[in-house]
């Protein structure tokens, strides 16, 4: 795909045109992507979460392309951050799934003397298939989500604000810096633990129940300014998310407790855990799926228009020459990408061992369809709230494939990795395309670099996970419980695999949740099913913080007007997001250094 880049065009740009797809932007994006991928694979194994990296890449791009080279442009920096975050996000899909395979192998060997027979090659093939399919999926949905539905993608707005900072006037730059400082100081205070009061303020959450409000009403607020800022950027459109949380925790939860649907003797935090883990979270996953599918049905005429527009672009491009004539990658390339992705998917499944041709073909078909649904869900959820339900989608992927592959964990994991990489790519690319829209970038150039570079992240992340695992005593056990890299996400996935093996899947919740999601998705309110499903899937502390942000936006819009929100609130909220993201990166780096030095 790299051959699509026309050296003549690049040369013309370098010679003084408007710099967009340049060698400098691509090289910087590649280098940053590799570094961020390695750093965040390590951080995810240690902390259990990863960071998109777009903000870091955009700031570095601004400093190097504009500050150092003195020639950089906004759209060139956008290409840099698109590549960097694409390579980095491919690693996230790997690190949330693959470590579970190593850990399960070791566990089963210890327990029964027989481990899992698996090779890394099928995983790599599956990962590359996921990287291609995630990109392919998102191209036709760009018009639907960004141009028609107008999803906010708060992180995309924050990255735009960074790229434009310094160009958008001193007032906006000051507001961005103010938000950054406030958020950074607040995050540092929370991380330091200086504000902690046992039972009231712990782990960055404020318990406002004071012993008077029962735990099953979840009287907790997540004190993340980034979360609240995402709500501030969304406004009224995010209110159904708050509504979903209120329905789950202030209606359903007390009904369940009052009607005696919870086990006797379970109280306090354990009761909260039961309601969340056994009732609301699985129901939320079902609702997310039903809501997303119904959303496709309801918006079908608009989606068809978007596809026609792509087909039209293909015809126009045949008549005109040059990359500038095309706005969007053509339908022909999308179909070719789908075919290549599905072929790799099939090969990866077949090569994983114990899977026949028919099973591999069925797995490819089901996996591709599921990947499309999961990608849609994650992209919509990220677009509306900035929160990605990736772990829930990984759960369903592995469950689905273990059933299809008759309990073959290694083969199911190939699909699990592919789906996680794909949905991560989809959400990341949609954020990047939102940034591109706001900067006036050409979508086709972002799509080309996404195709050309992101698969690299799969190899880097798999290599990093392998090296870290074999760095343990006796060439294994380099991460997992009891090590400095506990890999919490992989531990959770192991638990799911154990549950599937023992036939303990809450299918009733998924089915009934799916029906509820469909009913919500059919309402004349954009994204209602996905938002309510996500609110049930997440702890209420997050939903409440986000909802407060939405209410702040609405109040400011009513009292100060739209212009105030666009020119004052947006840069300030973007600063809050960037401040917390970068402080999180800094803290993760610090924690890793401390651990490494401690081990040394």
């Amino acid at each position: 795909m790299a051959s699509r880049i026309d050296p003549g065009e690049v040369g013309a740009r370098l010679a003084g045109g408007y710099r967009e797809l340049t060698v400098a932007g691509m090289v910087l994006g590649l280098v940053q992507g590799v570094v961020l991928n390695l750093a965040f694979v390590y951080a995810a194994l240690k902390l259990g979460f990863s960071i998109a990296g777009s903000t870091v890449a955009a700031i570095m791009g601004y400093a190097l392309l504009t500050g150092l080279m003195k020639r950089g442009t906004s759209v060139e920096n956008n290409i840099n951050q698109t590549i960097a975050s694409g390579i980095n996000t491919a690693g996230t899909g790997v690190v949330f799934t693959l470590p579970a395979l190593f850990m399960l192998d070791a566990k089963w060997r210890a327990e029964a003397g027989i481990g899992l027979e698996f090779s890394l090659w099928p995983i790599m093939i599956g990962g590359v298939a996921g990287a291609i399919m995630g990109t392919v999926l998102i191209i036709p949905l760009r018009k639907q989500m960004i141009e028609l539905d107008r999803l906010r993608f708060p992180s995309g707005i924050a990255v735009t604000t960074i790229i434009r900072s310094g160009r958008a006037g001193i007032d906006k730059a000051k507001l961005l810096a103010l938000g950054f400082l406030i958020s950074m100081i607040w995050k540092l205070l929370l991380l330091s633990g200086w504000l902690d009061v046992p039972g009231i303020l712990e782990e960055e959450q404020w318990n406002y129940g004071f012993g008077l409000i029962p735990d099953y009403l979840s009287p907790v607020l997540y004190l993340s300014l980034m979360n609240m800022a995402a709500g501030m950027l969304t406004g009224k459109g995010g209110l159904p998310f708050l509504f979903g949380g209120i329905l789950a925790w202030w209606v359903v939860s007390p009904v369940a407790v009052g009607a005696g649907w919870t086990p006797e003797g379970v109280e306090g935090a354990a009761l909260w855990g039961y309601i969340y883990g056994k009732m609301l979270r699985p129901l939320g996953i079902g609702t997310l799926i039903g809501g997303a599918l119904m959303g496709v049905v309801v918006c079908f005429p608009a989606i068809r228009s978007a596809f026609r527009s792509l087909a039209g672009a293909t015809r126009t491009a045949a008549l005109e020459r040059g990359a500038d004539a095309r706005e969007e990658m053509s339908l022909r390339w999308i179909l070719l990408g789908t075919a290549v992705g599905m072929s790799l998917f099939f090969l990866g499944s077949l090569a994983s061992g114990g899977v026949g041709v028919v099973e591999a073909a069925a797995g490819t078909l089901v996996g591709t369809l599921w990947l499309a649904v999961a990608g849609l869900i994650v992209a919509q959820a990220t677009g509306m709230t900035d929160i990605s339900p990736m772990s829930g989608m990984a759960l369903i992927s592995v469950t689905l494939m273990m059933v299809l592959y008759s309990g073959n964990v290694a083969a199911a994991m190939v699909v699990g990795v592919a789906v996680c990489v794909a949905i991560g790519q989809g959400a990341d690319m949609m954020q990047d395309l939102k940034t591109g829209f706001m900067l006036g970038a050409r979508p086709i150039k972002q799509q080309i670099v996404q195709f050309a570079f992101t698969w690299i992240g799969v190899f880097i992340a798999i290599g990093a996970v392998y090296v870290l695992w074999t760095s343990g005593p006796g060439g294994q056990g380099g991460f997992g419980e009891g090590t400095p890299l506990p890999a919490p996400q992989a531990g959770a996935l192991m638990g799911i695999i154990d549950a599937v093996t023992s036939g303990n899947v809450p299918s009733d919740k998924y089915i009934m949740g799916g029906v509820i999601g469909a009913l919500l998705g059919a309402a004349p309110v954009a994204g209602l099913g996905v938002l309510v499903g996500l609110a049930m899937y997440l702890p209420f502390s997050i939903t409440l913080g986000y909802g407060i942000g939405c209410l702040i936006h609405m109040a400011l819009k009513k009292t100060k007007g739209t212009a105030f929100c666009e020119h004052k609130l947006v840069p300030f909220a973007a600063g809050l997001i960037v401040g917390e993201a970068l402080t999180g990166v800094g803290h993760a780096t610090y924690s890793i250094l401390i651990t490494t030095l401690g081990r040394g």
């Binding site: 009904v255 228009s305 009913l519």
Partner: protein, 185 residues
Amino acid sequence: MQAAKIAFLVYILGIGLAVSGAAKVPQAGQAWPDTVPIFVAGTLLGCLGLLWWRAGLITGATDPAKSDQDLADMLRHVRDCRDRAGNIRQELTTLDGDALRQKIDNLLLDHIEPVVENRFALVRHYGMKDGAEIMLKLSLAERNLNRVWSAAADSCLPEAHASFGRALDALEQLQAEMESGNRGR
């Protein structure tokens, strides 16, 4: 209006009942909880409320006075935007980057943003298919205006001017589509 509110409440009540009925964990050895009837009742109630709610919206959308007013407002924004963009083109070569960005900011905030905010009325009036086509045209104009802003900020005025031409073309097509779609009704 009162009926629409009642329909919405029926829908919400149905959803609440359905979620509550679905929440209970099945007894050991059972695949489904014994609260499935509550779930089914809630789902049916929700369906009823949804149909009622949607029917009310259709009635509202076919209210000629309201629909005409919505469309007139949006058409006015598109015409004004195109007229102002036409005036900017006349003086394009005399504007520096800062002045051009200020004018683009004003166009986006004064005319594009109100149409985007009212996009559901656009879809209700033209239907999903034609409404989507119009929104895609509007988005093309908006993205090119954003490019003008970026290029002007990056001191690349030739690119800003070229993008401005593309934005103006898209605005003209948008206006033509909205007017012809309106005449067809």
